[in-house]
């Protein structure tokens, strides 16, 4: 019996069961235990599937509707190491988030566990499916569960506004995906990715093909928070409850990028011109990474800071993916894993602050958390890991991306990636230094008014030391990220995943004819250089020191620096206005430009 459907159906069934158990009077711990057990079971299924997929990609036809005369009438899960690995990552992050929520909420309200499990099911289905419309169904399920989780704390206005922005932008994105599916269906007559790829291959790229790709890409890149579609993310991630933020920043955004990569390689890779596409995606990726990095430095609301760092890192992942190369894709996959685990740890650290002080405001908490030593140290370690400190998973991932970029002749990319890593990690370390160690004083560029989010009465009063069960997921996530960086097996899996990912012919033959082609040969083990990574980490420390210590940003020099930066900073802030009308305007302009570029270029 194949395990392929179980990650999704276990989570769905348990979600329904937990909804039915909601009315029990002493339900809190029962729901906690059952949802933890579910996440654990899903993680075990994913582990098994990953293990099995290494020997050969698994194709699972629901309802036994195998292709009839080469035409797929049913829905298939196509489980290769990349999709199984991402599913496993999402299950692990859910496990950490649920462990953390054991003590996080003062009173768990209606349907929290149900929605978390539905969210888990959607992440699983989205990663594992090999069918375009099925992908859209899970995209929508992911959205609906996420909007509700974002607006969880209805007593404040921030979460409701964030959830509304999130819902509007992602629904518009969903419409784009649906339009793209309609175009592709009209062109190919099928919804299976492999079929669509086979039907398009060899044909010239017309306006309809490029428009279909751009519509699908725009929809998924909105989920992936790529400029200029990223505006919803800081609004939503900063106000969602911490466990939900862990999942949003750790895996949901990255799955958007994964979907773009998947549809490109399986469906469009023989039709569209890779050079032009590479330039376009690289441009968007680099712009996203820079804007996200700068905006992260300008925040004082810690969760908002982390949210902008997610935007920046999502841009870096897009840049890595955009190289359209096997090695670069391997690096990107490793980076997604390493970054997701570290970012989850950072959000959990922030959640500990909420637990104690009901605030995540850098200025307000300044020096007030000296007693949280373990959390402080772990948070700083996570901040260093965010910059790509060896031997964390972020180091191998980014190292491979950088080396491949240099080999391919994109010399400008490695320094840019280092700069953005240093900016985001520097902002995190600055905040950590101020909050946990009382270093420096209020920073000169931060915004004046913090947004209110889940803090407030959500978690009740702080009581004594931090519960162990909150620190356990924080530590485990960091250890897991270390594992991603250090274990050679993880690299081998990522290499195999990338090799399988870009092998369109083998994917088609397996899905449509059921004939397995030989697996790609393993590439030699990559050991990215350590020096560059240490330099990046040092640069991050310098950025943090610039903000915290005496130097050009203090005293007399400060005024001149401020005057110099005032214009661009104000412009950036004004663009990130928080008005949904502005966001839709940027969205439609971005989509229009991408459509125009694609139709003229491709």
């Amino acid at each position: 019996m194949s395990l392929a459907p179980f990650p999704v159906i276990t989570a769905l069934f348990m979600a329904a069961l937990l909804a039915a158990l909601e009315q029990l009077s002493s339900r809190r711990r029962l729901l906690d235990v059952l949802s933890l057990a579910t996440a654990m079971a899903v993680a075990i299924f994913d582990w098994q599937l990953l293990d099995a997929s290494l020997a050969g990609t698994i194709v699972y036809w629901f309802g036994d509707w195998k292709p009839m005369g080469g035409f797929p009438v049913g829905i298939a899960f196509v489980i290769d190491p990349a999709s199984a690995g991402l599913a496993l990552l999402s299950a692990l992050l859910t496990l950490a988030a649920l462990l953390f929520s054991w003590h996080h909420f003062h009173a768990v309200r209606t349907y929290y566990h149900t929605l978390m499990l539905l969210f888990l099911a959607s992440l699983q289905g989205f990663a594992l499916t090999g069918d375009l419309f099925n992908m859209f169904v899970f995209f929508e399920l992911m959205g609906v569960a996420a909007y509700a989780l974002t607006g969880y704390k209805i007593e404040e206005s921030g979460p409701l506004e964030g959830a509304l922005n999130f819902a509007v932008m992602n629904s518009v994105a969903g419409l784009m995906v649906l339009l793209g599916i309609a175009l592709l269906y009209a062109l190919t007559g099928g919804l299976n990715l492999a079929w669509a790829g086979a039907a398009l291959s060899g044909k010239p790229a017309g306006t309809a093909v490029s428009a279909a790709f751009i519509l699908l890409a725009v929809g998924f890149l909105t989920k992936g928070a790529v400029l200029p579609f990223h505006f919803w993310l800081p609004d939503a991630h900063s106000v969602a409850p911490t466990p939900a933020s862990v999942l949003f920043s750790g895996i949901m955004v990255q799955l958007g990028l994964y979907a773009v990569a998947r549809i490109y390689w399986v469906v469009f890779s023989t039709t569209l011109d890779p050079d032009l596409l590479r330039q376009m995606l690289l441009g968007f990726g680099v712009a996203t990474a820079l804007v996200g990095g700068v905006m992260a430095c300008l925040q004082r609301h810690l969760k908002r800071l982390l949210a902008y760092s997610t935007v920046s890192h999502s841009g870096m992942m897009l840049a890595g993916m955009a190289l359209l190369d096997r090695r670069a894709l391997q690096g990107t996959l490793l980076y997604i894993a390493g970054h997701g685990l570290v970012k989850g740890a950072l959000f959990i650290g922030t959640g500990v602050l909420v637990y104690h002080h009901r605030s995540v405001d850098e200025k307000e908490l300044h020096g007030r958390c000296r007693h949280l030593r373990v959390t402080g140290v772990l948070f700083c370690v996570a901040g260093l890991a965010l910059s790509g400190l060896p031997p964390f998973g972020t180091w191998t991932g980014k190292g491979i991306i950088k080396e491949t970029a240099s080999d391919l002749g994109y010399q400008f990319l490695p320094p840019l990636l280092s700069l953005c890593s240093a900016l985001t990690a520097g902002a995190v370390l600055r905040a950590a230094g101020g909050i946990f160690f009382g270093l420096g004083h209020s920073d000169p560029f931060s915004s004046s008014a913090p947004a209110t989010g889940e803090e407030g009465s959500e978690t009740g009063h702080s009581r004594g030391p931090t519960p162990r069960i909150m620190l356990v997921p924080l530590g485990l996530l960091l250890v897991a990220s270390l594992g991603v960086g250090m274990l050679p097996q993880v690299q081998q899996v990522a290499d195999q995943a990338a090799g399988r990912f870009i092998d369109r012919a083998a994917y088609q033959a397996l899905v449509l004819q059921g004939t397995p082609l030989p697996l790609p040969r393993p590439a030699p083990q990559a050991r990215p250089g350590v020096t560059v990574s240490f330099v990046t980490t040092a640069a991050a420390l310098v950025v943090a020191a610039l903000f915290l210590g005496p130097g050009p940003l203090r005293g007399r020099g400060r005024e001149s620096v401020k005057v110099l930066l005032r214009g661009p900073v104000r412009l950036l802030r004004r663009v990130h206005s928080g008005y949904i009308g502005d966001y839709v305007t940027w969205f439609i302009c971005g989509t229009g430009i991408m459509m125009a570029l694609a139709q003229f270029w491709f």
């Binding site: 309802g63 929290y112 609906v144 175009l183 269906y185 007559g189 306006t207 502005d582 302009c589």
Partner: protein, 253 residues
């Protein structure tokens, strides 16, 4: 951006987008020249393989039944999220509903409305049940029939008997029915696994084409979806009613 400033780039962006989308749509195969393989593949196999006479139901519940599972759970998630957002806050208190217009004595529906409600309730209920049960034979099915079933209870509200609706919340039988409907679909799909078949394989006896008991699991799946949809809409209307009629914001102490 101010709203006036915003209009310019928005209109410009929309025009560019619409223009290029139109250009792409013009490159599609012309209207009426469908060349896809999906339609013929299903029309030629659904009768011999599944004894089904309704292609739409066959696609939604059999060929692509897994999509429908996801769609059912989208509704489930939307209702769970709706109830989460519409819950009573700590600063709010529940009050007995009062008539908003002061010149009436109590909440008495007009006799005509009451009569119509009493008349329509059983027929709508019956129509809903019919549409759910015949989903695999005639246009309709669980989603449409479920909405009709919920509509029948909206007549109860129109007739002024909304106390019955207000009670439908967490712990009420309706919320159990909703969860059972959602879980039921998952379980019906599981039936095939012990037989060594794939998830959602339609393995029940197929019956004769056109009979009420035919097409294997399709009627069962329609019933679970109908149950889920009907109770989901009831829970939602009850939550909205509570928000409007019962919950009042108290001043914070």
């Amino acid at each position: 951006m101010s709203s006036k400033l915003r209009h310019f780039p928005f209109v410009l962006g929309t025009l560019v987008f619409a223009g290029f989308l139109l250009r792409a749509l013009c490159a599609l195969p012309p209207f009426g020249e469908y060349r896809g393989a999906y339609g013929p593949a299903i029309l030629s196999t659904m009768e011999p393989l599944r004894h089904a006479q309704q292609a739409v139901a066959s696609i939604t519940f059999d060929y692509r039944g897994f999509d429908t599972l996801g769609e059912e759970f989208i509704l489930f998630a939307a209702v769970a999220g709706g109830l989460l957002l519409l819950r009573r806050q700590e600063s709010e208190a529940a009050h007995d509903p009062v008539d908003q217009s002061g010149d009436r004595g109590g909440i008495e529906p007009a006799p005509a409305v009451l009569g119509l409600g009493v008349l329509m309730f059983p027929f709508t209920l019956l129509l809903g049940i019919y549409v759910v049960l015949h989903g695999h034979l005639t246009p309709g099915g669980g989603f449409q029939g479920g909405v009709l079933l919920a509509t029948a209870f909206y007549y109860v509200y129109l007739s002024g008997e909304y106390h019955d609706l207000l009670g439908m919340s967490r712990g009420h039988i309706v919320s159990h029915l909703e969860a059972a409907g959602a879980a039921g679909y998952v379980i019906i799909g599981l039936l095939a696994l012990p037989a060594g078949l794939h998830y959602l394989h339609n393995l029940l006896p197929l019956g004769d084409k056109g009979n009420l008991l035919s097409a294997g699991t399709l009627p069962l799946l329609n019933i679970t979806v109908g149950t889920e949809v009907a109770s989901a809409f009831l829970l939602l209307i009850a939550a909205f009613l509570r928000q409007v009629l019962v919950i009042r914001r108290e001043k914070k102490p």
